[in-house]
């Protein structure tokens, strides 16, 4: 294990998540993991593989299918200073735990006048997994980002998955950590050495001069694909990975838009009252005199997620839609 040189080590996204949790659990015995199938099954998506063997059943806990109950139980334990990591097999299932995760966790510190905080991480798959139809394909970021008192991170690659999750576990506040099933098997460089990634620091994944594309998580793949395509047409895009939605690094986004004078926001949730509309609004307010056009947005279509493969593909953000939005934003349509 030690023989692998830092720069050469390439691991899967899911293993990066596993390392983040395992390292934090080794350091701090207040940290524990609970959720459906996390222990004996090794995780529905194998993210927690091997953790039961290392930490035992007291710290890696299989729960029944009972999201409202186990989310609430974890919150109660966090009020006493334990630091639970709650795995939702899918964020779609978090909806039945809406009361504890939205009414208790993010408000406890405020409603108790600073007496009881809630150091807890909720994590799991967010977004369309592939023909799962509407109830299992939720993108919860827009709905949940509306609530004050929580932080929200959406990692795009293995490096960020580990660094952001370690920061989430160390944070004294509730963190909603949104992974994508479609990214779990992707691989990336992850150093052996300890590192964390601070919240609220966007990352420029591609530099460009003609249009800023802002996104989070899996749609970044399509943003980068679109940027390659547009470069062939002579349109150089700057692709910004926001990394965290709360805190939102609007300063980096604004700085980029002041340079490119054009902006497209790509958000996989529905368009109405969304993360995308929020960022567009903030960009309009901060870059009013710098924009050559209004901010364009690419979202999933405003319908329940369809099952049929062709309809689902048409529904999700993709590079074709992003290219079209950039061409319009830069008057190249």
């Amino acid at each position: 294990m030690m023989a692998v040189a830092t720069a050469e080590r390439v691991i899967e996204f899911r293993d990066a998540l596993n390392e983040a949790m395992s390292e934090e659990m080794r350091k701090d015995n207040r940290v524990y993991l609970l959720g459906e199938e996390v222990a004996e099954y090794n995780g529905a998506y194998k993210v927690s593989k091997g953790m039961l063997d290392e930490f035992g059943a007291r710290r890696v806990i299989d729960t029944p299918i009972s999201e409202s109950g186990f989310a609430g139980m974890a919150i109660g334990s966090a009020m006493r200073g334990l630091r639970p990591i709650v795995e939702f097999m899918s964020w779609s299932f978090s909806l039945v735990a809406a009361d504890p995760i939205l009414n208790n966790a993010p408000k406890m510190l405020y409603m108790s006048g600073g007496q009881f905080g809630c150091p807890i991480v909720f994590r799991g798959n967010d977004g369309a997994g592939g023909q799962l139809a509407s109830t299992h394909s939720w993108c919860v970021e827009s709905m949940y980002a509306n609530v004050p008192g929580l932080k929200m991170a959406i990692p795009y690659d293995a490096y960020d998955a580990k660094g952001l999750l370690k920061t989430a576990i160390q944070d004294d506040n509730p963190v909603f950590f949104l992974e994508s099933e479609r990214l779990l098997s992707t691989t990336g460089h992850v150093p052996v050495e300890e590192y964390t990634i601070p919240f609220g620091q966007a990352l420029t994944r591609r530099s460009g001069t003609d249009c800023t594309i802002i996104s989070f998580g899996r749609p970044l793949h399509f943003c980068l694909e679109a940027a390659d395509e547009l470069a062939k047409e002579g349109i150089e895009c700057e692709v910004i990975d926001g990394r965290t939605i709360r805190p939102l690094d609007i300063d980096s986004m604004v700085a980029s838009v002041k340079k490119t004078n054009a902006c497209v926001v790509v958000d996989q949730s529905w368009s109405f009252a969304s993360v995308g509309s929020e960022i567009a609004s903030q960009i309009h307010a901060c870059c009013f005199d710098d924009l050559d056009n209004h901010v364009f947005r690419v979202h999933s279509d405003d319908v329940p997620t369809p099952y049929a493969h062709n309809l689902e593909q048409a529904y999700l953000p993709n590079s074709r839609k992003i290219c079209e939005a950039v061409r319009q934003a830069t008057y190249n349509a």
């Binding site: 334990s77 009020m79 006493r80 334990l82």
Partner: protein
């Protein structure tokens, strides 16, 4: 391992269990001084609630406000049966428990007045009494929401005792709920998890027979035999007299000791009655005056006074003196609350997060903790 044996035993002896929910080894009744202390606490709660209603009518208190008068024996007797560092979590009818746990009434009143001196700096109000120094993990406004939290507090004490300290589980959590919460799904999830995880939590049902204006018979199936609710999860059940603080304490002491020793949950049904409406705006048209009079004629405070007179020859003057002291204490609490400044504007963005970022101004503790703390 223990829980599996327990479940099998429960199923085999189900008829026997129905005859007697749980064989309680009766704890001893406390002596005169302790009883006088309980009387003082019950009088304090009642007087506090009377002044709360006045303040509400005078518009010094806003929002929803739920009065505990009639149920005082439940909070006082059950809290006396556990250790001061055993966690407590409860629903929104929470003033009585906060006072019984030891919160100074001035902080409780100031919270309802929405002042900086309140236990939550005026950010929680009547339904959200928190007191870290007294291990009071809040009143909670959503019916039943506190039940998974109660399981979580018990999970935490067990984890702290066994996993972190490597010893034996040594705490028991009191998680209070009203009969309305019997119909919320999360309560059953909480009981299921508490049973699976062997959590030392007592779910204390304060059965005052009405969830707002809906009688328990109209809202809860099997209302005549609530033991089935917990037995379905392999959790023992007991019915205690919520009007008799001595009997209630004795039962609770036995139950709490058992839960602590066995690290198991329990479901206790305290039969009680709220004399006032569900909240301040409730005209109580769903029940009769006769029913109210019958209930009020069996009053826990009057009974305790009689007991003290008959068993210990406590003079009526001595009892009057306690009542006067309590009146003065509550009067001072109201004055203190009234003199506490309005919560300043710099508190608006405090306590959203523990850290400073964007508009958020970090966190700070209420004055209540400064006094008792280091």
């Amino acid at each position: 391992m223990m829980s599996t044996e327990f479940l099998i035993q429960t199923r085999e002896n189900i008829d026997e269990m129905k005859d007697n929910a749980f064989q309680l080894t009766q704890a001893e009744a406390p002596g005169k001084e302790v009883l006088l202390g309980w009387l003082r606490q019950m009088l304090l709660i009642r007087e506090f609630e009377v002044r709360t209603m006045q303040a509400y009518q005078n518009r010094l208190i806003g929002g929803f406000c739920h009065i505990y008068i009639g149920q005082e024996a439940v909070a006082v007797g059950s809290i006396a049966a556990v250790n001061p560092d055993d966690p407590i979590v409860l629903a929104y009818r929470d003033h009585g428990h906060a006072l019984a746990r030891g919160m100074d009434p001035k902080y409780c009143m100031a919270e309802m007045f929405g002042r900086i001196g309140g236990c939550a700096k005026g950010k929680g109000g009547s339904m959200h009494m928190f007191d870290a120094e007294h291990y009071l993990y809040g009143g909670h406004g959503i019916v039943g929401a506190q039940t998974p939290l109660g399981a979580g507090l018990a999970f935490a004490t067990k984890y702290e005792d066994e996993v972190i300290k490597g010893g034996k589980s040594s705490h028991v959590t009191l998680c209070y709920l009203g009969d309305g919460a019997l119909n919320q799904g999360c309560f059953y999830e909480a009981m299921n998890l508490a049973s699976l995880q062997d959590l030392p939590v007592i779910f204390v049902l304060e059965n005052n027979r009405y969830s707002m204006g809906t009688s328990i018979e109209r809202g809860t199936s099997m209302a005549h035999d609530l033991r089935v609710k917990s037995e379905a999860h392999g959790i023992h059940h007991a019915i205690v007299d919520g009007k008799n603080v001595i009997d209630l304490y004795k039962d609770f002491k036995s139950i709490a000791d058992w839960c602590r020793e066995e690290s198991r949950p329990f479901f206790v049904e305290a039969e009680t009655y709220r004399y006032k409406g569900h909240s301040m705006s409730d005209p109580r048209k769903y029940r009769t005056k006769d029913e109210e009079l019958v209930e009020e004629s069996n009053d826990s405070i009057a009974s305790l006074k009689n007991y003290l007179s008959e068993e210990y020859d406590v003079a009526s003057d001595a009892l009057k003196q306690i009542a006067q002291q309590v009146k003065a204490q509550v009067k001072q609490a109201v004055e203190w609350a009234n003199n506490s400044p309005e919560t300043p504007m710099n508190e608006l963005y405090k306590d959203v997060f523990t850290d400073h970022w964007g508009p958020y101004a970090g966190t700070s503790k209420p004055e209540m903790l400064d006094e008792g703390g280091a």
